[in-house]
């Protein structure tokens, strides 16, 4: 995390300094600046192989989590939107007590935020000993609560654990 922030600042400053020159060989617009920023970030990421191996391993996993999250966000929205515009209710709301494997406050916050934004689920409450998270789920297939729990545990929680472990 610290390495990522440091690399981000370095890449940003380098891009800024390059594009604040007077006469530029390439045009100044969003595509060129973004491409240059990402290029510098990738080079720094490759250089991390020699001094910070865990950062080298974790950045692809973070991107994987981000893409998976965006995909789930889209699917959830399409599901809910379809349910709103058609007259019949397809939802079977259920309250689920999800036992947590993640321990620290940061992981729990991340998981609860992601859950609130994805497939028809809304995190309601965390028990005081931080071991159980209560969810309000809209779509439970065949009233099978265990299946949904497994889905969340293997989808998001595993990815977050891989990231922070």
């Amino acid at each position: 995390m610290k390495t990522f922030v440091f690399h981000f600042i370095v890449a940003f400053t380098a891009t800024y300094l390059f594009f604040s020159q007077a006469d530029l060989p390439i045009p100044y617009n969003a595509e060129t600046t973004t491409a240059m920023f990402l290029g510098i970030l990738t080079l720094l990421w490759l250089s991390a192989l020699f001094y910070n191996k865990s950062y080298f391993r974790k950045l692809p996993k973070a991107i994987n989590l981000l893409l998976y999250f965006l995909k789930e966000l889209f699917l959830a929205n399409i599901k809910v939107a379809f349910d709103i515009v058609t007259p019949h209710y397809y939802m079977r709301p259920t309250i689920i007590a999800l036992p947590l494997t993640v321990k620290s406050d940061l992981e729990i916050t991340l998981l609860a935020n992601i859950i609130t934004l994805t497939p028809g689920t809304l995190s309601i409450d965390v028990r005081k000993d931080k071991k159980i998270l209560f969810l309000h789920a809209l779509y439970v297939k065949d009233d099978d609560i265990e299946q949904l729990k497994n889905y969340i545990k293997h989808g998001f929680e595993r990815r977050i654990l891989e990231l922070t472990a």
Partner: protein
């Protein structure tokens, strides 16, 4: 070859598609606010719909203007709204449970009921009374926990 392509037109088409999709999601989630059966379902619909809609509209805007500074601001807004919106939804949902806002008839609340009984939240009508009782409990048993 590259000079013949009208990049402005391509950017306009992409941003049009993104902005229209975002507006559509926002419209549908607002309709859901009117017609869904209970508080919690409405909450989850409106949180997801507006967050995704805002993200799509802003990214469409960033692509249209094609300026690095605007893109940076747009990305910052998207990141912060994605962090704060679910936190707000969580706080509102938690307060609703503590205030005994009723669930829809078809909701299965089996796993929540045990928790409410354990925490003695089930019997309280509003939050002020709940906090008062908590204070009383703390006075009666200091050094508990």
């Amino acid at each position: 070859m590259l000079e013949n392509i009208d990049w402005l037109l391509i950017r306009e088409i992409i941003s049009c598609v993104l902005i229209l999709t975002g507006v559509l999601f926002m419209l549908i989630s607002t309709l859901g606010l009117l017609r869904l059966p209970d508080f919690y379902i409405r909450m989850s619909a409106i949180t997801k719909g507006t967050t995704l809609g805002l993200g799509l509209i802003l990214s469409g805007m960033g692509i249209y203007f094609n300026q690095p500074d605007i893109l940076l601001k747009v990305l910052a807004i998207i990141v912060f709204s994605f962090i704060t919106a679910p936190v707000a939804a969580h706080v509102v949902g938690r307060t609703a449970v503590q205030n005994k806002i009723p669930f829809w008839d078809r909701t299965k609340t089996k796993e929540l009921n045990e928790y409410l009984e354990q925490e003695n939240l089930g019997e309280h009508v509003n939050r002020d009374k709940y906090i008062e009782d908590l204070k009383k409990k703390k006075k009666n048993a200091p050094g508990n926990q």
